[in-house]
Amino acid sequence: MANHIKLKNVAREYDGVSALRGVNLEVEDGEILTIIGPNGAGKTTMLRIMALLDEPSKGKVIYRGMKVDRSNAHQYRKKVTMVFQRPALFNTTVFENIAYGLRLRDQEEHRIAARVESALNSVLLKGFGSRMAKKLSGGEQQRVILARALVLEPELLLLDEPTASLDPTNGIIVEKIIRRLRGRTTVVVATHNIFLARRISDRVGCLLNGKIIDVDKPKNIFIKPKNDIIRKFARGEFF
């Protein structure tokens, strides 16, 4: 598989505190890569840098062989979408929330309506278009923000703790949606849920104190860990 996005020696500091320390990571085309790590490990920072919402203090982000930074951020963000941990919604209807990104891409209204409809169906929210997004339940909101990202058909989808605040039913729905993306969209998921990581990932990256300590297939992380640190990681002892 071809290399999709690469972080090369990426470091990020906030007010003198290191959130990431020289991260090297390669994500392959169409794979689901899950980054696991305890709270404060740097998972969200890493996704924000991949989405170019933050710039690295050191190192670079290479997307399909090209360095991306502030100068080409706008074009880059048309291909990459991030879903935040906390459901961030515009104070309007579900339809308008999902249509927002399509309107930025100058789509025609009849095409927008059809694509929003299809996106709502894919997250099992058929008929929810006219409802106010902020009045939905937490699980439904999470599915709306997933639909809003999926409708754009991004090349790279970044998901920050997509099931963290969901009940089991909504968690399963979201998980199925993520699995369906395998092979079509490159997905990077940040989570502290090792069970989710084990179920959905093609590869799993372990992030601890701002450093990637290993990236491997789920079975090599969870079943046959190569050393003690990974074993502890797989058992969730750092979490």
């Binding site: 924000r48 989405a51 919402l53 963000r77 935040f84 927002y100």
Partner: protein, 211 residues
């Protein structure tokens, strides 16, 4: 309502409405900068605009009178005693209200909205517009408060407009003149119209904010 009073009411709305639009031209970019950017001196600027909220209209009127008068910095434009002078004066007067309330409205928007818009493909300008759209209810409150302040002020209208019948006479200067002349009924009538305008706008904006 007499034809004369109707003329004064329409002129008052026109002058204060234009003052509001004028002030929005500079207040909105200032509020966007204060609400969205972090920079040295931001707190001082916000404090300055908050302090200016209570500026006496006569003090501002006197200051602008000196600028617009014949020997003043803008004397060559002969703006004194014209509706334009009142518009400019009222626009300056309501700037602190617009800036403070708009900044508050922008700051109260979920901080993730800007990032959200960006990650859905918005440019920096489109992301700022998304924040503004989310702040629209606070924006309407700011606009109504500023308009009410403009239409209800006396000092600027009197000192810069001169209360010329058919040209610069507005509701507040009419009220003051009526009292001076002993035409109390005319003053009461103008006051009632002024209160109706202010209350109606406030009620409409409150209903919009609740919705």
């Amino acid at each position: 309502m007499s034809e004369q009073l109707l003329d004064i009411v329409l002129r008052s709305i026109w002058i204060s409405g234009t003052a509001l639009l004028l002030s929005v031209l500079w207040s909105l970019p200032i509020a966007l900068t204060l609400g969205l950017k972090k920079f040295r001196g931001r707190g001082t600027l916000i404090s300055f605009f908050n302090a200016m909220l209570g500026i006496p209209t006569v003090a501002l009127g006197l200051f602008l009178y000196m600028i617009f008068s014949h020997g003043g910095a803008l004397g060559i434009f002969s703006l004194l005693y014209t509706p334009t002078a009142i518009m400019i004066g009222q626009a300056v007067l309501i700037t602190p209200i617009l800036v403070s309330l708009l900044t508050n409205a922008i700051e109260s928007v979920d901080p993730e909205i800007r990032d959200l818009a960006r990650t859905l493909g918005a440019s920096e300008r489109q992301a700022s517009l998304a924040v503004l759209k989310e702040a629209r209810k606070g924006g309407i409150l700011a606009g109504v408060s500023a308009f009410n302040r403009a239409i209800a002020e006396l000092g600027v209208a009197l000192m810069l407009g001169g209360n010329i019948l058919g040209l610069t006479r507005v509701l507040t200067t009419q009220i003051a003149l009526g009292v001076n002349r002993g035409e109390i009924m005319l003053s009461i009538e103008a006051t009632l119209v002024l209160l109706i305008i202010v209350f109606t706008l406030t009620i409409i904006s409150n209903r919009f904010r609740r919705d």
